[in-house]
């Protein structure tokens, strides 16, 4: 039987990836390649932010069961340092050019969709409910990023080259998504969490199909970042996350408890 502490940590994993990606997408505001795309990308970011809030609200409740603290969503988002974040390394990668941003989104969305589809069946009613709600949003995210990968891949010579480079550049961050450590496997065995190792095959099949349609080559490199229990999910992050958090957290750090 896994503990509340393990469940809390798992909920942070579920919430931190959407939060960090949402902040990254927010960095595009006012810099999008075209007004319509700027708005669309921000919408995706806002969806992810909303999902993070739901995971944090539940995480805060679970934490209060074993620790003498009451941390709300703001405390969890703005008052933790990078070593306490449990997000995937993929989502903290800097935005790069638009192909880089879309490649990151494409890899993440396909994984996120498969994950949420599993979590929607969780024995934990709260997890199942949040996952079911998020799944609808992610279905659209997935459609959009897939569409862009095909358009840019099967577009001009320049867009094809940039898309192929982005797909390859981020490839080494995909392995972590399917790497499960012991606490995660325990929660999956109990029917509460998802065994992400089982998502590798359907994910690979899905993205290979899209990349083929986009006239892009599926990367074959096998060395992966952040696996074997030493990655973002265990709090081992790249220095880019620290810089991103400094921007994201500065207001709450400078004016503790500030409210809108």
């Amino acid at each position: 039987m896994s503990s509340d502490r393990q469940l809390f940590d798992y909920l942070l994993r579920l919430g931190d990836s959407p939060l960090v990606l949402s902040q990254r997408l927010g960095e595009w505001v006012g810099h999008g390649p075209i007004l319509e795309e700027d708005i669309a990308l921000t919408n995706v970011g806002l969806d992810l932010l909303g999902q993070a809030r739901l995971w944090y609200a539940y995480a805060g409740e679970v934490e209060a069961r074993f620790a003498d603290v009451e941390r709300g969503e703001d405390a969890l988002a703005f008052l933790r340092d990078s070593g306490e974040f449990r997000n995937l390394l993929l989502v903290e990668r800097p935005n790069g050019n638009y192909a880089d941003t879309m490649a990151r989104q494409f890899y993440f969305d396909h994984w996120h969709w498969l994950l949420l589809a599993q979590l929607a069946q969780s024995r934990d009613a709260c997890i199942a409910e949040i996952a079911a709600k998020a799944l609808k949003e992610v279905t659209y995210h997935l459609e959009r990023s897939t569409d862009w990968v095909i358009r840019l891949g099967d577009g001009t010579d320049e867009s094809h080259a940039k898309m192929q480079a982005a797909i390859e550049e981020l490839w080494m961050y995909t392995g972590e998504m399917f790497d499960a450590d012991e606490p995660e496997i325990a929660l999956a065995t109990e029917g509460i969490g998802c065994d992400v190792r089982k998502l590798a095959e359907p994910w690979h099949r899905a993205i290979s199909g899209v990349l083929a349609e986009a006239t892009l080559v599926v990367p074959t490199a096998t060395w992966m970042q952040g696996t074997k229990g030493r990655g973002g999910k265990q709090g081992v992050h790249s220095e880019e996350l620290g810089r991103m958090l400094a921007t994201m957290q500065t207001l709450q750090r400078s004016y503790p408890g500030a409210q809108w």
Partner: protein, 94 residues
């Protein structure tokens, strides 16, 4: 300017209305993206249940210069408005 995406006119059917209503325009490379962009630009606050997009270039509009010959003649024909028929009091909702 040929590198620019074409302009699309966006029509949205709201929850309550029966007809699609013009809500504005936006740029998109093709119809499919125009629908997606409309969803993100014009239905963020739950405004719609259906979207139509039409290339702005495909719309033929009346010319403002022809306003007088086009619309003026209708102005002096009040009898075309059905306001001259006395309605019985019992008839409601007309």
């Amino acid at each position: 300017m040929s590198n620019e995406w074409p302009l699309w006119e966006i029509f949205i059917r709201s929850q309550h209305g029966l007809a699609h209503k013009h809500v504005g325009s936006l740029h998109a490379p093709d119809a499919e993206m125009a629908i997606k962009n409309s969803r993100d630009v014009y239905t963020r606050r739950n405004e719609g249940v259906s979207i139509w997009v039409v290339k702005s270039a495909d719309i033929t509009a009346s010319s403002p210069g022809e306003k007088e010959p086009m619309f003026e003649p209708a102005n002096s024909k009040v009898y075309r408005h059905p306001t001259f028929f006395p309605m019985p009091d019992e008839v409601k909702h007309i």
